[in-house]
Amino acid sequence: MADKLKTALFKFTCCAGCQFQLLYFFSPESFLETLDLLDFVYFRMATSKELKEDDHYDLAFIEGAISTTEDIEKVKKIRKQSDIVVGYGACAAHGGVQSIGDWTPQRKLEETVYPNPLQMKSIKVHPVDEFIRVDYQLRGCPIDEVEFMELIRALAAKKEPYLREYPVCVECKFANNICILLMRQGVLESMCLGPVTRAGCRVACTRNMRACFGCRGPMTNPNIPEMVRTFKGKGFTEHEIFTRFTEYAGLSPEFSEGARAYYERKAPYYERPEWRAA
């Protein structure tokens, strides 16, 4: 067998769930096969092996979004040190849940959480590929086991992984699911982003009768205006549509187009009367 890929996993701003997905929630077979294919030289959660300055990696996983200025330098360094860089999880790919904060002015955010915001020097949340080239994205919150295995098997075999580009709907139908978007009852349950979200999650949401909330970000060339029109047609409010598009991947150009569909020329939502009232 070819040599194991020398691998490092770095964590930035996120919940670390994607690492745990690998360490803890994978089936034992996948977990052991992963260890067969990858040699983790740096993986803080799993081993106390130290980071070596100027080490070189065949493969670097970057988990989490970038939210401090130091982090920007760190990822640039990782890029230089690594042959293949993989964005690991929704936070790395699109900013993840914390990117919701990007729709609120930073000062405002700081004020809500900390009594003395003047000490803060936080920055907005950014996807990793805003600063460096990312070779592959493992999307999703959290990442999917099957997709992860496909990626590392392909990389170990030095070939392209087969990562799906099509929307969640395809997998949803493969899974024999009823269409959540078309069930016109139960308001929040039917606001499904499936038709514009990239598949690969094996429909974690819809197989549980939950609407897809777009954690994997947009598919290639999604029809966002139609998605907005559809939601609107089903009677969702502007603010509801906004929140749906901004949950996990609101920073992607496509989803932010959806989020802006109603807010563009209006006051940002945190100043809108609908929640300021009462």
Binding site: E33, R153, A157, P167, C169, V170, K173, F174, N176, L182
Partner: protein, 349 residues
């Protein structure tokens, strides 16, 4: 030889089938229906088009073509496909779609995966005595009643079930049932019920199937296509759920740790962007318009030219599962609905 039996209930038939076959039947879940292995739940025989067509049982969405190990060249192994199975309660439209697949997977290159499964499958069809609002099988002559191509055929007579036998394999099952033959009255009741069902189908294709080729060829550049394509998600729902859509992809799953791989096929859809893409990203149907047209015309005309079998059987699945609902002729409609697409094209240029 018995031709038709009268059953009081279905249990006796199902029990008998279960002895020799793995029985697939429409089961209810969250108010909808899907084909699944019949265990304890009750099979549903009222007219309900399952979410996914039974094609997935004969050609699963992802199927293994072969496994191989790559040590010293490679050795190939194909999966066994000898499971005897019964498709219980398959609708006439779906039977017709299955016949279409017979043509696609037949011809010069016979697809062994389809045919092995097909030959091991007992078709226990069920006539539709009630119809759903999306159905338009009568436009194609594919329903609501079935004339041939079944092993066994059920009709719900309200006071019991008529069981017609259509093949020696069906005969073998029927012979084990200890029930009386059906009478003339039962047969005429069936005819009456089917006539009633046919009459209750409100949806009609605006153009006769035989005239569709010319109709569509003339309207290939009709302006009505563009606004339709604009509201299409390219999500593939219309094709994935379509019982006559057969397109698939071939890909490989290879594990360097195991030095073994598997070549698989996976359903594909012409609505997806990557369907016609080749090396260097060149795409022969890059625009939504091209893809939407391809699907519509393939269903309604080209498939018939290719395989002499209709590409649509009027099951209404695409009508139901298309998430886009543009307003046409003053009412919200399903974008993928063949009847509405034809309707749009019938409007003057």
């Amino acid at each position: 030889m018995v031709r038709a039996l009268k059953l009081d209930g279905l249990d006796i038939l199902i029990e008998s089938l279960k002895k020799d076959y793995l029985v697939y039947a429409p089961l209810s879940r969250n108010g909808d229906y899907f084909f699944s292995i019949l265990e304890e739940e009750k099979a549903y025989l009222g007219c309900a088009v399952t979410i996914m067509p039974p094609k997935r049982i004969l050609q699963p969405e992802v199927q293994t073509l072969f496994n191989y190990t790559a040590v010293d060249g490679y050795s190939i192994e194909t999966p066994p496909l000898d499971q005897k199975q019964a498709l219980f309660g398959i609708r006439p439209c779906d039977v017709h779609a299955m016949l279409g697949f017979d043509r696609v997977f037949g011809g010069r290159y016979e697809d062994p995966y389809w045919w092995e499964r097909r030959k091991n499958t007992l078709v226990v069809a069920a006539n539709c005595t009630t119809v759903a609002e999306e159905c338009f099988c009568s436009s194609w002559g594919t329903g609501p009643g079935l004339d041939a191509n079944y092993d066994l055929l059920l009709t719900d007579l309200e006071d019991g079930y008529l069981l017609e036998i259509g093949s020696p394999a069906g005969e073998e099952v029927a012979i084990q049932l200890d029930v009386p033959p059906a009478g003339e009255a039962d047969l005429s009741k069936k005819a009456r019920l089917l006539a009633r069902a046919t009459a209750s189908i409100k949806k009609v294709l605006g153009v006769k199937p035989t005239e569709l080729h010319d109709f569509l060829a003339e309207r290939f550049d009709h302006p009505a296509w563009q606004p339709q394509a604009d509201v299409c998600f390219s999500c593939g729902n219309c094709t994935i759920t379509c019982p006559t859509c057969y397109c698939y992809n071939i890909f490989e799953d290879y594990s360097p740790a195991l030095k073994a791989g598997e070549r698989r096929s996976e359903w594909d859809s012409c609505q997806l962007l990557e369907f016609a893409r080749i090396a260097h990203g060149f795409n022969f149907r890059r625009t939504r318009l091209d893809r939407f047209k391809h699907r519509s015309i393939h269903k309604l005309s080209w498939m018939d030219q290719q395989y002499q079998t209709p590409g649509c059987v009027g099951c209404g699945r695409c009508v139901r599962w298309c998430p886009s609902w543009p307003v046409r002729r003053g009412r919200p409609t399903s974008l993928a609905d063949p009847v509405e697409i034809i309707g749009d094209l019938m409007e003057a240029v």
